[in-house]
């Protein structure tokens, strides 16, 4: 019998994907196309947070570390060392996964709020470091780095916003599928268990440190993939890719969408990101709105939107099954 938790891919997702597929044909301008493209990548990033923060219950407040590692690797390897982009992308993925392994190893013995503190501190340290770190371009005397950023050399002349849009959409669908597979797998079940009760998980033979590490590795790899996509689409890596605000954004999408549901955080990112980005609210106002929405959700819908819906559905199922219980 299949576990009923992630039973089927919701029809909403399929319908949404169809609409997004056709949207550019309806005559979107390039600005909106760009916003949606980045929105898809942000959705993958939000989903990757949910792997470690929702499914495995490790509150990561330094998720931007993995994203930034990937964008910076892409930028430095292509611009500074002159690597071709695909090679740099592969290396960036490896590096962000390694960062995940390192953070996971360090935080595995810790619990709850202390995981949050450690990841927050690691992310902030990386941000502060790269904010002050400048690199000299191989030709010319100007320096790169910090908030100005480093260019990413894509080296693909036929790259256009339309191609980026469809590539990002395909990437989102692929990653959503992968993440749902992870959530439904035996490993995903074990992660859900350990996020619920570490004590019971240990008494059930779960090697919790190994699994926490594994969750960080998987999440970092996915966040890194989103970072590579971001670097390719934006063409620049800045210190902001490591910022606390970006880490916080991931946790916000997850909290609003519903922690541990994968689909919830992805949909929340798909909805909120373009909405706020496309309407010309200044950056400070955007983050402010995120924070407000977050506080409201945490206070009144602690399980998030998708989580609340799932709880309702389960309650209904329970009521239906009352007859054969006890």
């Amino acid at each position: 019998m299949k576990p009923p938790r992630f039973g089927k891919i919701p029809g909403v997702l399929v319908a949404g994907a169809g609409i997004l597929l056709l949207l550019p044909l309806a005559g979107l301008d390039v600005f909106l196309l760009d916003v949606l493209t980045i929105g898809f990548l942000t959705a993958v990033y939000a989903g990757s947070w949910d792997i470690v923060g929702g499914l495995a219950g490790q509150i990561s407040l330094g998720h931007a570390l993995f994203f930034g590692t990937a964008t910076y690797s892409c930028a430095l390897l292509t611009s500074l060392l002159g690597w071709p982009f695909p090679l740099a992308a592969g290396a960036a993925l490896l590096l962000s996964t390694a960062a995940g392994a390192a953070v996971g190893t360090l935080s595995a013995p810790l619990k709850g709020p202390f995981v949050a503190l450690l990841t927050l501190a690691l992310g902030e340290a990386a941000h502060e470091f790269f904010l002050g770190q400048t690199f000299f371009s191989p030709r010319g005397a100007y320096s790169w780095g910090g908030e100005g950023g480093i260019p990413v050399l894509l080296g693909i002349p036929w790259f256009s916003p339309w191609i980026a849009y469809y590539a990002a959409l395909a990437f989102l669908l692929l990653c959503t599928w992968i993440m749902l597979r992870i959530a439904r797998s035996e490993t995903g079940l074990i992660w859900t268990a350990l996020s619920g009760s570490e004590l019971s998980a240990r008494a059930s033979g779960v090697d919790i440190r190994r699994h926490k590490r594994l969750a960080f590795v998987a999440a970092a790899a996915l966040a890194g993939a989103a970072g590579v996509g971001f670097a390719a689409c934006v063409g620049r890596a800045t210190a902001d890719d490591f910022s606390l605000e970006l880490s916080f954004q991931a946790a916000t999408f997850a909290a609003v969408g519903g922690r541990g549901t994968i689909v919830g955080p992805i949909l929340a990112a798909l909805l909120f990101y373009p909405l706020l980005q496309g309407t010309g609210i200044p950056p400070a106002g955007r983050v402010l709105l995120y924070a407000l929405v977050l506080l409201f959700t945490l206070r009144f819908f602690p399980a998030g939107v998708a989580g609340t819906l799932r709880e309702r559905a389960r309650a209904r199922r329970m009521a239906g099954r009352k007859g054969d219980g006890r």
Partner: protein
Amino acid sequence: MSDLLLADRITKSFGTNRVLRGVTIGIGRGEVVGLFGPNGSGKTTLANIITGLTRPDKGRILFEGKDVTGMSMDARFRAGIARTFQIPDPYPSLTVVESVRVALLCSEAGRKETEGKGPGFQENLDSLLVRTGLFAQRFWPAAKLSQGCLRRLEFARAISCRPKFILLDEVSSALSARDEAELVALMRSLHREEDISFLLISHNPLILEELCDRVVAIEDGRVFWEGKPGDLAKYVPTSHHAHGDEGGNHEGG
């Protein structure tokens, strides 16, 4: 000695509080041993040390002749040392069948028998649920179970690793008479059919008298009496009868 499990001269302090002062206790194959003691006598700490939740300051734990003192709790579970908790802590977002599935997935026994998770795994899972009387409630959220069913879920989890030894921490506290009788029957059938050894921790001498082959009583971190369960009543000061529960699964200071 042919003990299945031996806790050898265990010492443990929390800060300045010396909880265990050299406790030695052995459990033979197929034996049911009771561990009796008043609140704060160090029973739960000893249980945590035997199952690997807490490290002893001094002393060692031998299981089937091997030193398992440095082994983590989950590794001990996979090796065949299972336990239940005084206060069950169910996974809040999993159903009953999923909760048992986790334990089965992580135990060597479950893995070996079900290479490639064929039908063998499912049969195994179902038989565990049937055996512990949880089959009808298998799709319930574990957190919504009654106390009695939660204890049974603890049993199902514990026996999923095909253990040779199970430690039961306060089997019967906070249970109705009917639930208690059912759990005792379940324990007996496990003992009879699978030859599992048990260590029963309780502050209730009646339960121990009924179920055990031998009883060890500890007080102030030392073994102060050991003998036949029938003689327990003679040695137990009356003040030790019918106390409330101990603090919980973790032993504090």
